[in-house]
Symmetry: C2
Subunit: 109 residues, 2 copies
Amino acid sequence: MGISKTDCFTDRQNALAQQFKALSHPARIAIVEHILRVNSCICSDLVEEIPLAQSTVSLHLRELKNAGIIKGSIEGNSLCYCLNEAVLNELREYISDILNKISGKTECC
Amino acid sequence: MGISKTDCFTDRQNALAQQFKALSHPARIAIVEHILRVNSCICSDLVEEIPLAQSTVSLHLRELKNAGIIKGSIEGNSLCYCLNEAVLNELREYISDILNKISGKTECC
DNA sequence: TATGAATATTGTAATATTGCGATGAAATAA
DNA sequence: TTATTTCATCGCAATATTACAATATTCATA
């Protein structure tokens, strides 16, 4: 059906899925890495960096922002995007927790 | 087009995107959490745990396995799935690296 | 060998995603 | 005021994802 049965899962599971989904496209990985690299977060030189149409880049940015991976603030005429430390930290903690729980156990596969 | 222009990005970016994509659905988050919880990785009581059809669960398991998030080994008649520490570790490191790089910098948004 | 249990695969349908070009909107500069 | 720049949104087309039921496969066991 192409529609996820989100009501079958917890809010937390749905939120995590959405955050990981934001990182599930190479263009969005590239955007994150570019923001990281340029330090200054004056954006959309992104459009020149990434070989996609401006409208497509804009869409990817929106998805990243919806998921909370990046934040954006208006900077006169342009928009300033930067990474959201808090959300990235949550994701790291989530994966860390999983790793901590399995680290003691014997591998079975 | 619905098709990602993967050739525009590095292999690493594409691989990371695929791994995050494996975690980008609440059912797959739920599967990972269930495997984590039951410790023993004798699976597909998963089908009873997760309110989706057996074929759908099977498909999600395949995606997780393709991305390397879980490993599966044949255990007589049934299949034993468990989490793949190595790949989860890579993902944690990737996010950690990002966080390390931004931790010193001044927030701009 | 035949049956059953556990998965995987296939076919089909609905919906989502990806991408582009064109168009809007909003602030700045000329 | 009139460009120009910067971004968002809309409409469209192509492809991918999600889901289920039905069927196939694979192995163990009766």
